[in-house]
Symmetry: C2
Subunit: 327 residues, 2 copies
């Protein structure tokens, strides 16, 4: 009967946060995905119309790591009416050699938030200009805040602007982020004006129709689209594909649920069009930013290798924390 | 932060076993699957060639139940060399209304073994002749033992025969089952001779080529094939499809991984051939056994509704047992 380490959200918050160590672990995971040998099946997505919910299950087995994560991410969108967060869930860590359960990370989505933000840092570090100093965040939720923190880890940010559909939420996030990052962060009422000021634009909304127009962008900018992690979601005008160097985290997954899915559906991109994945850009086997005036466009749908990478790091940092149960 | 109940294998063994209450719960689950409203996505199957392993993830959301299970079943086939069982795993129970994790059942495959056996009882109760008195089990593993116990719950068994590739294992199982069930259970060296004596034949092996020939069967017999739960596994001669009334647990899944998959691959059955599912037979909306001389043939690949049903029952029976962690 294997011994299983159990860590709660509070314990996980005590051992892992968004920092460069995590960014590097996520970076390494994307490189391993590009190098081959990773087994990462398609996302199991379960849609529960009757209860306005969904459950996504992601996993990836990475050669050389002792364990691999299986992550269960429920999103039940009527929960706020009950005073509960929409998202929750946990990660399991199984031995990569025996399949036995080694750990249960009861993170309620905390690790997913972090590894998603870290991927934003990885994409910006690979694709944004090295002198990028102004960030524009579209959206004002948890991921919006984390994406701004992530950018500040990898680029010399001097300022940021925030736009959200609800101006009060944009203002609240700007105040909070200014204090946290020690940077001027301003809310902006007009999305186009916000985008115009930025070197890096990150979209972090649950939009199902584009909120970022292609003709708002100018040479040299970098865009990371975070929101499209389900078929039906999209934040970016498909016309951007004709203007930008496009880099998905995982091509097959982006075709099924990313901005690429929406662009294919709109007829803007051929269904079989090939693009270099983020891991190939990181490994230098595919071009990323070709010149300072290029527009780069990362499409991050969220991958199982990120889950395995953060779970591995969290367990390593946790040491003997948590509860051990002999199953 | 939700409170999560955690039950170990030992605790689960203390509260749930193979009995008629469980058989009825699994029966009800198949009826609900037939009635509609159940959301049961395709199995997520991850094959890990480098470590001779696989992980299957199954789930089903059943209307009216408070929770639904997500089950993770690893099979790592080099584990016995390390002194470990090949299979392990756990079930999570999520709230059907909020998606929050309610319980973790650290069963190491125990609940899967039980719900698989209970489905054998359900199939025999629906399809075997009411006077079936002799069982033949092909295979001598954990599931072979459980299937014999399951049949004894639903049919007036007077005797049983066991055949296995390894005669010593068949003999050991026969001795054990005789004592446990209070019935004469004999090992049989020849599979055909074993089958000839039986009213009900259950195949429980990991075979990848048929071990049961269609021309061994005679009118009135019932066959349940348990082994084909992965593409590539098969136990039954495809010619049986022409002689028997075939009933899969889940048609789409049987086409992908059951005896039906093998029969389609062999050209014995058309890829789009339709068959009534077990739940439809149980509900009376499709015929099962048409007459006493028919041969009936159940193909059980293992379904998420069984996992949700047994997890629900185990939690109800557990009461306040286990450990509660505030995640």
């Amino acid at each position: 009967m294997p011994a299983i380490r159990i860590l709660t959200e509070a314990q996980l918050r005590g051992v892992i946060d968004l920092d460069l160590g995590l960014v590097d672990a996520i970076d390494a995971a994307f490189r391993q995905l590009a190098a081959g040998g990773v087994v990462m099946p398609p996302v199991l997505s379960m849609h529960l119309e009757d209860v306005n919910g969904e459950v996504d299950i992601k996993t990836a087995h990475v050669p050389g790591l002792e364990g691999f994560a299986i992550k269960v991410s429920p999103g039940f969108f009527d929960n706020p009416r009950l005073g509960l967060p929409s998202t929750s869930g946990l990660m399991m860590v199984l031995s990569a050699r025996t399949g036995q359960v080694q750990a249960l990370l009861l993170d309620n989505g905390y690790l997913t938030d972090l590894r998603t933000a870290a991927a934003g840092a990885v994409a910006a570090r690979a694709l944004a200009r090295a002198d990028a100093a102004t960030a524009c965040i579209l959206g004002a939720g948890v991921q919006a805040r984390l994406q701004l923190r992530a950018l500040a880890l990898v680029r010399p940010l001097a300022r940021a602007v925030v736009w959200a559909r609800d101006p009060a939420r944009a203002a609240a996030m700007a105040t909070e982020a200014s204090a946290q990052l020690g940077l001027p962060v301003r809310p902006e009422a007009d999305a186009r004006t916000a985008v115009a000021q930025a070197d890096i634009v990150v979209t972090t909304t649950p939009a199902t129709a584009p909120i970022l127009r292609a003709d708002w962008l100018r040479p040299g900018q970098h865009v990371t689209a975070m929101g499209a992690d389900q078929p039906g979601k999209t934040e970016v005008d498909p016309a951007l594909f004709a203007r930008a160097s496009y880099v998905p985290d995982r091509l097959s997954q982006a075709r099924a649920m990313g901005e690429l899915r929406a662009a294919i559906a709109a007829g803007a991109v051929a269904p079989d069009a090939a693009f270099p994945e983020l891991g190939a850009v990181l490994s230098g086997t595919a071009p990323g930013r070709r010149d300072p005036q290029a527009i780069t466009f990362a499409d991050l749908t969220g991958t199982g290798v990120q889950d395995t990478a953060i779970a591995t790091l969290a367990l390593a940092r946790a040491g003997s924390a948590g509860t051990v149960i002999d199953s």
